[in-house]
């Protein structure tokens, strides 16, 4: 038996079986049984995900999927070829799977002390969330994908509703769920419409049909369908005007949940499904999305500047960071898309590290209010070191990972052929400056100056060995990813290099005019 054919199923089963096992374990007040169990399961999952980059065939034809498994699952009446259990990954999803595996044990460690009660519920939901996220990244059947996509909402909403910080938690959870669920319900209509047209839920087949313009002759229907996809994914990212749920959810969610709350799922889905099935429509909407990306960067950074609650600041900095990715991927240039995907990894890692650190401060001082802090640098040297490293990565200091992503994205923004791209790229670049301001200002206010009120009252302590174990992997990764980005880019580029002309098999448009020609030509071909 070759592991390559079953590795993805195994990846999904490990946390699932782990979750079931945790449910069956009896719960005792104050015992660490469930935390240890969850740690073991997530570590095992992480080790399994590492199988993928080692055995990934980088030379394989770009656009093909690897580690595939394709079994018929449900036959649907008289029509179409039904639903398949189709898994597989390519250069786009490879590192996202590993990233998901990597963040999980850290999430468990970060909850080690903060979650004392109802540990069984917490870790079970955490593992289910893990299953759903991995499922999203490896599903190649739209039905299966949609299943995991919706499933990912449930543990998250319950984690927020049950383990949220303030009395506002139920409201935040329901808001989060509704925001994501209603567009997803309409997404289901779009999926069913696609199935009615094409008789298949298989992504590679649909991509081929999209490239051949055989999905539907109706220009309007395809256009509406693509927008439905984009909105459903955009809410989850969140893209600029759809971010209404973010602040409350981030404020309430426990550290382990907030680490995986925003960003990668939605962005991956846009790249995989919006771009894959609607190559033409995605390009038509790209100028708008570039604009929204740039607006999101500036807006998120400006709001973050005035927030004095650390979690709210983090929420808007998340918005700014994911907007960078949106800007990058919608340039449809090799640099922009490569950088965008790389930045998804960065954003997830930096955001996660930042939230872990905020959690540590909260654990010690019980507040996220910046005004209550101050002058911590001398008392907590290790924590401040970590904070500075994360900040430098977030603001894109050369040699650290954030720089690579931002640089590629902004270069892509300058290269692209969409109208007003230079204007928007310049606007986005100012976002980098604002980003540096709010992060550095935050460092100054929390760690320097005179000793704040809370630190006077409460005796803090520096990093414990467990907390060192949570943070050092991040710090090392930031440096390695900044210096040796080709390790990651090698896989990402198998996807990104095709991005400019994916969905247009006959053309390799390097510039503006030819691209326009492709769009017009394809529209006439309909």
């Amino acid at each position: 038996m070759n592991l390559d054919h079953h590795i993805l199923t195994l990846l999904l089963l490990t946390p699932l079986v782990g979750a079931v096992a945790l449910v069956l374990l009896p719960e005792r007040e104050g015992s660490k049984t469930h935390a240890i169990g969850a740690l073991a399961v997530t570590l095992l999952t992480f080790v399994l995900t590492l199988h993928l980059p080692y055995h990934f065939n980088y030379a394989a034809a770009a656009g093909s999927f690897q580690f595939e498994q394709n079994l018929p699952w449900i036959t649907l009446g008289t029509t179409g070829n039904g639903i398949h259990y189709h898994l597989g990954i390519d250069g786009l999803s490879l590192w996202l799977v590993v990233l998901t595996g990597f963040l999980a044990p850290i999430g468990v460690l970060a909850s080690w002390k903060t979650i004392q009660h109802r540990t069984r519920l917490f870790y079970t939901l955490f593992l289910l969330q893990q299953v759903a996220m991995l499922g999203i990244f490896v599903s190649l059947d739209l039905f299966l994908y949609y299943g995991f996509w919706e499933l990912s909402l449930v543990p998250m909403a319950l984690l927020i509703a049950t383990f949220g910080r303030t009395e506002n938690r139920r409201r935040a959870a329901i808001k989060f769920f509704l925001y994501a669920f209603i567009p997803s319900a309409i997404l289901l209509v779009a999926l069913l419409w696609l199935y009615a047209r094409t008789g298949t839920f298989d992504l590679p087949t649909l991509q081929a049909m999209a490239a051949a313009h055989t999905i539907s002759p109706s220009w309007h229907a395809l256009w509406i369908c693509s927008l439905v996809f984009l909105v459903a994914f955009g809410v989850k990212v969140p893209i600029f005007p759809l971010h209404g749920w973010l602040q409350e959810a981030v404020t309430e969610a426990p550290t382990a949940a907030v680490m995986v709350l925003a960003g990668k799922l939605g962005l991956y889905s846009i790249l995989r499904f919006s771009f894959g099935i609607f190559p033409l429509e995605s390009r038509m909407v790209a100028p708008w999305m570039i604009a929204l990306g740039a607006i999101g960067i500036v807006y998120g950074s400006l709001i973050a500047l005035i927030k004095t609650d650390l979690k709210k600041l983090a929420a808007f900095s998340t918005l700014a960071h994911v907007s960078f990715v949106v800007l990058g991927i919608f340039t449809f240039t090799v640099l922009g898309v490569d950088g965008g995907i790389f930045q998804i990894l960065n954003e997830s890692l930096i955001g996660a590290a930042f939230f872990v650190l905020l959690g540590l401060l909260y654990e010690r001082y019980g507040t996220y209010e910046m005004r209550d802090y101050g002058g911590l640098a001398t008392k907590l040297p290790w924590i401040v070191t970590m904070f500075v490293i994360v900040t430098l990565a977030a603001i894109g200091l050369p040699m650290l990972n954030g720089f690579v992503g931002e640089f590629l994205i902004l270069s892509g923004g300058m290269q692209t052929y969409f109208p007003h791209h230079i204007l928007w790229t310049i606007a986005a670049t100012t976002g980098v400056i604002f980003g540096a301001s709010y992060m550095l200002w935050m460092i100054q206010r929390v760690f320097y100056g005179s000793l704040g009120l809370r630190p006077q009252e409460v005796k803090g302590w520096d990093l414990s060995p467990r907390e060192h174990a949570e943070l050092w992997p991040f710090a090392i990764l930031f440096l390695v990813m900044g210096l040796a980005s080709p390790v990651w880019m090698k896989a990402i580029d198998t996807y990104g290099a095709r991005a400019p002309h994916a969905g247009f098999p006959d053309c390799t448009p390097p510039n503006h005019c030819e691209m326009r020609f492709v769009v017009v030509h394809a529209r006439e071909a309909r």
Binding site: V23, I74, T75, L76, G77, T78, T79, R118, R120, L121, F143, Y146, G147, F148, E150, L151, L153, V154, A157, L158, A161, T162, R169, R170, A173, I174, F177, L178, F181, I182, A185, I186, L188, V189, L192, W193, Y195, A196
Partner: protein, 495 residues
């Protein structure tokens, strides 16, 4: 075995068991437990279910059985509903064996009435003669009227029973009047002759009026808006296990009648009645979901949710795609699994005197009863339509068929509605998992779940999960059931 006997074998076994329960009931001293009668009823239901399996075997081998001068037709379609009703009744009986904490007088009648009701419902699904359908409808309705008021001495119970009885009689009158008018228009009350009679009728308007009246009668039974007003009050007042039964089994039977009547009987008038069905569907979905948003009482909330779910099923009636009809069958089955499950959990939580009623009473439930909370949460997720549950796949199947048939608007309305719906389900779910309010936790029954009830809960949960993950088996059964019965229906329209 003579075909007549074979055709009504499940109903016959149920009736025998029910009569036996009635006769044994007075022999048990007042104040003694009625559990043996419950076990007898369960044995009767199992026998009826096995008989239905036997019928399926015969039907598969030799084709449909017609009996009693072609008033009864047993085919894969009716056997499917026989099995479904038997399963619902079985699970409900298992779940309510220990429902009567302090044995009340004449507790055995409860079991007999459930069986009589099931007999009526089974008759509804196998009759192809509208008067026979009417008799089945009455048998099932009258039993349910009594069951609705079974918590005697409580104002809400009496309200439920009387309200249900008065409005229900009104609706059956509509149904009967519709049959009479159809007889006037076509000269028959049998579904086959009605279809042919409609082609040559001199009074098409009368026939249309008749069709509308029959639809209204059935719409009341499935609690489709605007004929839903009884539902919240009745569900609130009736005992929880009775609601589990009456929110699923009679509805399934009524949908079966509606399928046969609309597609086999008056399929020729599809262009006329389809608009009516669409209005009912949209009204039910919107009124059900919006009404549920305002509810504080959990049983009322689930009542409005059942109105909305009737709307989802009616969406399938609007398309003539064969998958839509299989979708109705699949949805009734998956809805039965999750809704019976949810009400059985309520039964376990609140007991006979219904200590746990409002959303606030559920706050912090998960800490006190983690197992039951997880089950209720799972059923709620299925009702929302979260993937990998039966509820999701049912919706998926129905809306898929609607879109295949060009009813994208209905599908969009339906799915937006399911988005609205998740708000009230989530409110309950979030309350269950929230930190407890100190004064509410005491109301939750500390009782252990008994073995039969645990079995019933496990069965519904497994069915809900199984229908979501591996629906193939039921889909095959459903797809076999549809073409045999409704071939005439889909022939005319699938061009």
């Amino acid at each position: 075995m003579s075909p007549n006997l074979l055709a009504v074998l499940p109903e016959l076994l149920l009736t025998l068991a029910a009569v036996a329960v009635m006769m044994l009931e007075p022999m048990i001293a007042p104040g003694k437990t009625r559990r043996p009668l419950g076990w007898l009823a369960i044995a009767g239901t199992v026998a009826a279910g096995s008989a239905a399996f036997y019928q399926l075997h015969i039907v598969n081998a030799k084709g449909p059985i017609t009996a009693f001068y072609a008033t009864i037709q047993v085919d894969a379609f009716s056997v499917f509903f026989h099995l479904l009703i038997a399963a619902i009744v079985l699970v409900t009986l298992l779940g309510s064996l220990d429902y009567f904490e302090a044995p009340i007088t004449h507790g055995g009648e409860y079991f007999a009435l459930v069986l009589f009701g099931a007999t009526g419902m089974m008759f509804m699904t196998s009759s192809v003669e509208l008067l026979m359908v009417f008799i089945g409808l009455e048998i099932s309705s009258i039993s349910t009227y009594i069951l609705a008021g079974f918590r005697k001495g409580r104002a809400t119970a009496s309200e439920a029973s009387i309200k249900y009885f008065l409005l229900g009689s009104f609706a059956t009158a509509f149904f009967l009047y519709g049959i009479a008018l159809l007889f006037g228009a076509t000269g028959s009350t049998s579904i086959g002759p009605i279809a042919t009679g409609l082609l040559t009728t001199q009074t098409p308007r009368l026939a249309l009026l008749a069709v509308a009246m029959v639809i209204i009668g059935v719409a009341f039974k499935v609690s489709a808006a605007p004929f839903h007003v009884w539902t919240p009050d009745v569900y609130q007042g009736a005992p929880a296990p009775v609601v589990a039964l009456m929110s699923t089994a009679p509805k399934a039977a009524a949908f079966a009648v509606l399928l046969r009547f609309l597609f086999n009987g008056v399929g020729g008038y599809r262009d006329h009645w389809v608009l009516l069905i669409e209005v009912l569907a949209v009204a039910s979905m919107c009124i059900g979901n919006l009404g549920a948003l305002l509810q504080q009482d959990v049983k009322r909330l689930l009542a409005y949710s059942s109105i909305a779910h009737a709307g989802y099923v009616l969406v399938a009636f609007s398309s003539c795609h064969q998958d839509a009809i299989s979708g109705v069958l699949f949805y009734t089955a998956s809805y039965a699994a999750m809704n019976v499950g949810a009400f059985l959990v309520l039964t376990q939580l609140s007991g006979f005197d219904e200590r746990v009623r409002s959303l606030d009473d559920f706050t912090g439930l998960a800490l006190k009863r983690p197992g039951l909370s997880a089950l209720l949460g799972f059923f709620l997720l299925s009702l929302i339509g979260i993937p990998f549950t039966g509820g999701f796949f049912g919706k998926f199947y129905i809306f898929s068929a609607a879109i295949q048939d060009g009813h994208a608007k209905l599908a969009i309305i339906g799915l937006i509605n399911s988005g609205i719906a998740c708000f009230y389900y989530l409110r309950l779910l979030a309350a269950i998992y929230a930190r407890p309010l100190t004064d509410t936790v005491h109301r939750i029954a500390p009782r252990r779940v008994t073995a039969p009830a645990a079995l019933a809960l496990a069965a519904t949960a497994l069915a809900t999960l199984g229908l979501g993950i591996l629906p193939n088996r039921l889909l095959h059964l459903v797809e076999r059931a549809v073409p045999q019965t409704l071939s005439t229906a889909s022939d005319g329209k699938s061009q």
